[in-house]
């Protein structure tokens, strides 16, 4: 199977900046996707497993924000 080509810039400044930007984009997507999943009735263990992290980690990172936003959270 041919490898997937990722067009990383040959300029180190661009390549390093793309790391910063991708981390920021990943954080934004995680926040939005976790909120979307919990609003759709997913529970913490399901979200944690989908993200490949522990339930404690995902809870610690997102619970307060979602509670404040009025999302009804399912424990299990």
């Amino acid at each position: 199977m041919p490898g997937v080509e990722v067009p990383v810039s040959p300029d180190p400044a661009d390549a390093l900046a793309s790391v910063v930007a991708l981390r920021r984009l990943a954080d934004r997507i995680e926040d939005a996707a976790v909120e979307q999943a919990m609003r759709a009735g997913w529970n913490w263990p399901q979200v944690a497993e989908a993200l490949g992290v522990t339930r404690q980690a995902v809870h610690k990172k997102h619970a307060k924000r979602l509670i404040a936003a009025g999302v009804a959270l399912r424990r299990r």
Binding site: V8, S18, R28, D31, A32, E35
Partner: protein
């Protein structure tokens, strides 16, 4: 509290708000730059405004830098059509680039509000230099103008 201390505190508070709105857990140099454009001291604000950098222009430059840097890795924020998430409740703390800006800016005995902008403009790499470059702003020239405005304000 001294006038300078009061300025720094206000800009840090504004920078924290900018970081929170940006969804960032840390206050970075770009958040301080945005804060300066809305800050209470007219010297750094006017230097930036004269270069066409009001709050909206800095926001636009930062957005452009974000998309440009994502594009370098073949990604685009627009490709992910997710709803905007609720804002974090965490209190953003001072990040690495903002710490460097403070260290680089405040080197003398008589700190002035313009020194924080100078510290930000002394960065050679990172988000702010790239955003300014993409906006067509000459960073060294802007730093020079900031130094002149600082000296003029001190003479008054």
């Amino acid at each position: 509290m001294s006038a300078f201390g009061s300025y720094l505190r206000t800009v840090m508070d504004l920078g924290r708000d900018e970081a929170r709105q940006d969804g960032s857990d840390t206050i970075e140099a770009q958040h301080l730059l945005l804060a300066i454009t809305a800050g209470p001291d007219e010297v750094p604000r006017q230097v930036l405004a004269a270069a066409g950098l009001d709050h909206q222009a800095v926001m636009d430059a930062l957005d452009r830098e974000f998309e440009h840097s994502l594009a370098a890795a073949g990604a685009s924020a627009a490709a992910f059509n997710l709803p905007r998430s609720s804002t974090s409740l965490k209190r953003p703390h001072l990040g690495a680039s903002a710490r460097l800006a403070v260290e680089r800016g405040f080197t003398g005995q008589d700190p002035q509000p313009a020194d924080l902008l100078l510290g930000i403009l002394r960065a050679q790499a990172g988000t702010v230099p790239r955003a300014l470059d993409l906006a067509g702003v000459d960073q060294d020239d802007l730093a020079q103008r900031t130094l002149l405005a600082r000296a003029a304000a001190q003479d008054r």
